[in-house]
Structure formats: C-alpha cells, structure tokens
Symmetry: C2
Subunit: 479 residues, 2 copies
C-alpha cells in the first residue's frame, strides 16, 4: 500500500526488517545486525528454520574450500564461475561471479557460526547422503560438455547431520548464533503488505499476529526471504502445470509464494517462474548409469550420467513424459534411493521381446541398442557423450526395464523462479529499475539455475545463504 | 478433415504431395522424384522460390566441405555435431547428428544441382556478404564457451550471388533441375485442409486454385514446406509479443504460418513457438566489437563478440530492452550494415559525462569501464570471456555511444518455431506419436536452434534443404 494511505501508527521500528526466518533470512538478519543495524525478523511459523531446516543440508560452494582441500580436490573460483556461467541460465553474470569469488569466504563464515562440516568426502553417485560425510558431486560438472569448459570438482557440501533433513543442523547453529547476538524475531507473524512511499521506496510492512494487524517501519530496507511457491496449488497450476498432476512438492506448507506475491504487488518483476527442479533419480547405485534411458519411441534422449534433475528435465520433454531405464543382467539392480518410486516392469530373454513387451515401435529398441553397444565397444558415446566410465555394451541377457515415466514414478519438485534481483539482492521492478528499500534472497527470488537441466543440489542453501548476507549488508549500508 | 467426411472425388493423385516450393519443398520433391515417386508440388504463389529466393543465400554446412578444404579450414562432422549439440536447444540429438554427418554429402548434392559456390572465403566480421565470396563465420563457434567444446570452423556457405538476395541463385538452379527432371507443380494453389483416414494417416489434401476446390490424393505422404509465420500478425502477437511492436519481419507475405496451422489441425505438436532470431548487428566493422555493450543500469550483459543474433537476444532481456554500444576515439566508427538502424547518441570528453548524458545510475558506467579496462589490460575478460582479440582498454577519449535499444533500432526477425518433427522429418502429434503420412521441413517445422542465442546464419537453408530431402526420400519409401 501507499504510505499516504497508511493511517495507523508504526507498532515496531527497525532499520532492516527481514521477512521469513529460513537460511536466507537468518543470514540477512545476522549480517545486518553485525553491521550495526537494528534488525527485526518477522516469521510466519512459531519458530525459525523454514524449509531450510527440513532440507537435506547441502550447500553448493567451491573455489577451494577447506573441505575441498582437505579431501584432495583442486578447485578455484574461476573454474567454479566458468562452470556456472556456462551451465546455468542466469543472465546476471556479475551475480554469478560474486557468488563464485565469495564462495570460500562464505564457507568459512558458515563454519564460524558453528555449522558443522566434516573433512570427508563421498566418491560414489548419491542424491542424498545418509551419513555425516560432507563433500560430494551434486551437479553436472563431469557431464559433457561442461567438463570441457571447466575443471570439474565436487561442490556439494553437506552439513554433518544424519538423514534427509540434515539442514536442521545448519539452521540450529545459525539460529542459535542469531539469538546469541541479539537478533529479535516476532513469530506467528505473517506479512500481508509492503508499504511504499511516493517514490516507490519500501518503508515498512503490515503484518498479522495473533489476529491483529501490526505495522512495522523499516528505516533502511525490507528483506523478503519467504521461500518458494511449490506448495501453492494455484501458482503451481499457473506456472508449472505439469507439476500439478502427480508430482510431489518438496518443502513445507509455508512455501506458498507469499513473498513473491508481496513483491509483485509492489511492482517487482519475476524471473524463471516456469523453472523447476524435479527428480526421481535412477541412481544410486551408480552401476545403473551404465544402462540406457529410452522414450516411447525406443530412442535415447539424454546422457545417462547427467545429474538426476537434468535427466528428469529431459524425461518431461519426452512424448507423454514416458521413459524406461534399460538394463542387462550384468548391471541389474534395484534403484536404491527410489525403490519405492520406479516400478520394475519385467525381464525378457531378448531385446526383441523387451521391445515388444514395452510396446515400442518395431525395430526401434533393437536399433538403438545396436548403435549404443557399438559405441560402448568403441569407448565413445557418439550421440550423447556419456562418459566412457559408464559405457558398456548391454548384451548380457536377460534384460530388464524400470518405468521412470513422470506419471508412473514419484517425482519430487521445487520451484526455481521468483522475484528478479540484482547482484546486491535488490528487487528489480518491471521496468528494470531497482525498487528502493526492497531486497529478496533465497527461494522467493529466482535461483541462479532456471531449470532442472542446470540445477545442482546445494543451489538453494548455497546462494540463498550467500545472497541473504548480501541483502542484509547492503540494506544496512543504505542511507 | 476425415476421409469419411470427404464426399468428392480426387482431382489429382500422387505418391508424394509437397506443399510449398521454397528450398525445403523443392529438395523434397526432387528427392522423391529421383527415388521413383510420382510427385506433385502445390504452391500458393505463381512460381517457385518462396522466402528462400529472397534470402541472403547462406547454407550452414560443414564437416569438411570442398569449400572449407579449398580455403584451408579443417573441420569434421564430429566437431560440427559437438558444436551444434552443445550450442542449440534441439533435444533430438539424433537429428542434429544426421545433419552433421550428412553435411558434406549434402553440400556436394546441392552443387551437383548447379547451385554455385565459390572456393573463396571472407575472414572479416559480416552479417551479409555483398560479394560472391562463399565461406564465412556466421555463428558462435569462436565464442566462449563453444570454442572450448568444439574446434571452430566457418560454416556459412554463401551462394555465389551478389547482394542480400543471393538465395535466388540457389532457387533458380534447384527449380531448373526440378523442371528438367519432370517435377510437376500447380501454382496459385493454396492448401486449405489435410485429409486423414480413420487411423489418422494423412491421405490427401484439399486446396483452392482459381477459385475452385481441388482434392489431391497422396498415396504415400504429404510434405509441408510452407515457411515460417513471422508475417502473420496474430500468430506473432500470440507467440512472440515483443516482436509485434517495432520489429520488422524478414520474409515474404506467404510466411503466414499456414502449414503450421494445417499440421496443428491434424493433431501435430508444435515446438519452440516462442523462438525467434532477431538482429540489428553492431558489426561490421569488426573494430566495434572492441567496444562494450551496457544496459540502462550501466552494466555489461553479453560477450560483445557474440554472433549478432545472440547479442540481440540478450538486448531483449535487458530492462526496457535498452542497450548502448560504448566506444572510445580509437575504435570509433559508424556501424556499416546498420548505419540507418543505430542512432549515434552523442560524444563526450569523459566517462563521467557520458554516464550522465546517457542517464545511467551514478558511478555505474565508471565502475563498469574501470573493471573492463583492467581486464583488457590483463588480456582476459573475466566476466563474459570476450576473446582477447577484441579486448582493448576504452580509455582514449572522447567517447561515443550508439543506441542499440530494441525500440530505437530496426530489428529484423524470423520465427524459429513450428511443427515438431523427428529425424525422418515425420510430424509428431501431441501425444508424441508419428502422424503417418505427414512430413514437415524448413521453417514451418521447428529449427535446430530454438532461439537467437544459438542461431547461426544459414541454419534455415542448410537444415531446410537437408531435411527436405530426408522428408521426400522417407515419404517415397513408405509403404
């Protein structure tokens, strides 16, 4: 609303008002506080943590972190930047560069807060780690053509917590530090409106707490850090309709896009709203990558050694979102992570029987396998450039197929689109101008990757925490 | 319409009916005829040629053509495939591979028809060639990161004709050969409907000629080769709304999407309908590439040595589609090809004055240039990786700026989207199945590049002629 229409009194005042207490909000608040700002966090839930606390706790960071060094991996910021610049859709290369160049120092900062990271690495193919091991490969760094552009290094840094919700260990540490350093927060407090002065500057927010409205003045800025929108059925239907049928949102109920809607009402532009990372991985175990994926025309369509989210993106582009994982007896195994998700269709003695059993066009799978096997024997996948490590002829019958079709398996998804921001985490309006006093970070702003083809695990917590800090510092420094 | 609803008699019969007599249609017809098929071309205009005849006559071909060899360039089909696989959005890698592997033979085939290609090359930066020179670089092969993925080679093969419509020389030769070999055509004949049997197979077409309806039976297949849709105002507004304001379609009036609509009415899927190549090049002369491009925030946004269509795509993503070409006195020149298109805004003695004169945020251009100049002195563009050949500090005042904003310059555009096809040029329906008896090639089918970011000059005539032949041969071979 306009400041001139605001009739009431300010109930609270702060330099920097942070909306949402997940990782981006917590980092923004702490950084603003440390810069001498008077900070107030408004959180809709009854405590901090957000979706970050129920995440798997992976931070995409690199450039030579202490963990990378301890585990014997060479990396530098330029290689990380080159990889991200080439593989992600983000057009703001300056922001990508800031993140890459600042990544080592940011890792140290997180660790200084007490976020636990082991000096250990996992060398296999995993989606989640059920152990406390830290470093593993979570993106397409080793996938063609990216390994030709930048020297690959594992950059997924997992917090030392057990299970699929290790993110809680990170949030516990960061929130404890926020409390220690005197960051105040109001809980059960949902922001309903941004207040803008005649110049469009955001000068405060209206919120509801315990059934009453409160008005909070923000002298220097408001940071939106409210998470994604994948639990908002209507926004999902409108922006990513395919996800609204059978895919399962990965998040918490408050991932309803509230911050995106607040920003848009204040004039903000959005970016990449059709972007999602969805997945139902074929690995682990890694040996399944030696199989091939075919569509209902019996044709391959992706390098099978792609990051699982990249593979899933290609599955969604296939006819009727249908795809099969084809294995021979030598490499057969049940997908571990997804044993409940991908159905074993059947086993067959010959390729011809498998082709018929899957209802594929006559000769299609036979041709595809002939060609693939010839390539595998020659040690080079001539069409999709799957790495030679994963090439072997599929010629040891019997053969088996798993159904990894989009509507036959459980695909989990997160949204990647949100408010458009610049490298300072300032929100941009629909004419390309900065909205003074408004910042966004984390999943309510557009991610660096705009699609599952370029996402890597850790690209939410990593840039979310980084640009949260950027927002808090920049807002605090504002006049 | 359904065959069962078709009450009339067939006025004409052929094995393969080709709709549209531009490059794709002519190549389809000739190939079908040579394969022993009974062919009939239906063309809406009063003669053959289509938009191909008014094009600049560039074929994107490579892999070691006789011209490439004669001019001393090393190329091979694998390098061409790797470049196209990495740089274009086409997910059908098999089709891209067929085109790459078949490219040398296709060049020989075109030449065997009498299409004239000199054994000459042009080594500068050009958009069109006003000479009869053949080979020049027309894509992003040398642009980061593509030069790391595949060995660059020039692949634009221009027909030996003078001026911007050298495509006429190609069409003259091919149409003459079609006539010699007895390809019959009906002119002033607009196809209005496809006729499908109960299984969905396309078995004929209805057309209007001289005010009367004629029905043409197609025993083996119908090839749609009717061109793009950029002259169809309504389709442009719906699919690429930005183009409907000030951009100028590059084509002929019959580029109205008629074939796309025929296909869709028969159940076809479309692909990349929001794709366009638009351009208002900053070069020639090449020295202008040593300038920088900034948006209204004073920030760079693209490697300035990109193919002109790639640069234009990024311009369109900037705030208010606004961009400026910044030059210093040492490299100042008027853009030659676009002298009527880009306005010189002004000259200024200092960067500070230029920043103020352009209305850029205080300090923004100064900062951008400081950083760029430091990079140029170090010989490496750390953010956008412009090739070192084009790097020099912009420090020789006075300074000048051209306005290359989308609504301030004349941007020419072509559409890249169309019917979805497979590697055999068969049209795919919305469930991912082949529509039996229906083929599409050329600009009424989706191009290999789906955006200006990945287009190269010659990616219309090259694949259009290649997959025209594929369609004609496959249709003729059908039972």
């Amino acid at each position: 609303m306009k400041l001139s229409d605001f009739q009431g009194q300010w109930d609270e005042r702060a330099d920097v008002v942070v909306v949402g207490y997940g990782i981006a909000g917590a980092c923004a608040a702490l950084e603003a506080k440390r810069a001498g700002g008077d900070v107030l966090v408004l959180e809709r839930a009854s405590g901090g943590g957000g979706a970050s606390a129920s995440s798997s706790g992976i931070f995409y960071l690199g450039g030579g972190t202490d963990v990378q060094k301890a585990c014997g991996y060479e990396d530098d910021a330029e290689e990380m930047f080159k990889f991200l610049a080439a593989s992600t859709e983000c057009a703001d290369k300056q922001a990508v560069r800031d993140f890459s160049l600042g990544s080592v120092a940011h890792f140290d900062w997180l660790e200084s807060l007490g976020v636990p990271f082991e000096r250990t690495s996992f060398k296999g193919k995993a989606v989640f780690l059920d152990t406390t091991e830290c470093l593993f490969s979570t993106g397409n760094e080793k996938v063609w053509p990216y390994h030709l552009i930048a020297r690959p290094a594992p950059r997924g840094h997992k917090v030392a917590g057990i299970g699929e919700n290790a993110g809680a260990e990170a949030m516990k540490a960061i929130l404890a530090r926020c409390a220690e350093e005197g960051v105040p927060a109001l809980y059960d407090c949902a922001v309903t409106e941004l207040v803008q002065d005649d110049d469009g500057r955001v000068v405060g927010v209206l919120a509801r707490q315990d059934g009453r409205q409160i008005a909070v003045r923000a002298r220097k800025g408001v940071v939106l850090s409210t998470g994604g929108y994948n639990l908002n059925t209507e926004m999902v239907r409108r922006n990513v309709p395919l996800m609204s049928d059978t895919a399962v949102p990965l998040g918490i109920p408050s991932n309803d896009g509230a911050g995106i809607e607040l920003g848009v009402a204040a004039g903000a532009a959005t970016l990449a709203m059709d972007g999602i990372i969805a997945t139902a991985s074929i690995y682990p175990p890694g040996q399944l990558i030696k199989g091939i994926l075919v569509n209902r025309n019996g044709e391959r369509f992706v390098a099978e050694d792609s990051y699982h989210g990249r593979t899933a993106s290609y599955v969604m582009e296939q006819p009727e979102q249908t795809a099969y994982l084809i294995l021979d007896a030598e490499i057969f195994a049940y997908p571990e992570i997804t044993s409940a998700q991908h159905a074993l269709i059947d086993g067959w003695e010959t390729v011809e029987e498998m082709e018929a059993g899957l209802g594929l066009p006559g000769g299609s799978l036979v041709n595809t396998l002939e060609r693939y096997n010839a390539d595998a024997r020659a040690g080079e996948d001539s069409v999709f450039h799957k790495h030679a490590d994963w090439l072997k002829p599929l010629d040891q019958g019997p053969f088996a197929a798993f159904d990894i079709s989009f509507n036959k398996s459980i695909y989990l998804f997160m949204t990647l689109g949100g408010l458009k921001t610049n490298r300072h985490a300032q929100v941009i309006d629909r004419q390309g101008r900065v909205i003074p006093g408004l910042y966004a970070a984390g999943a309510c702003s557009a991610h660096i990757p705009h699609s599952g083809k370029s996402y890597a695990s850790g690209m939410s917590l990593g840039p979310g925490s980084f640009f949260g800090r950027v927002a808090g510092a920049h807002a605090c420094a504002a006049e």
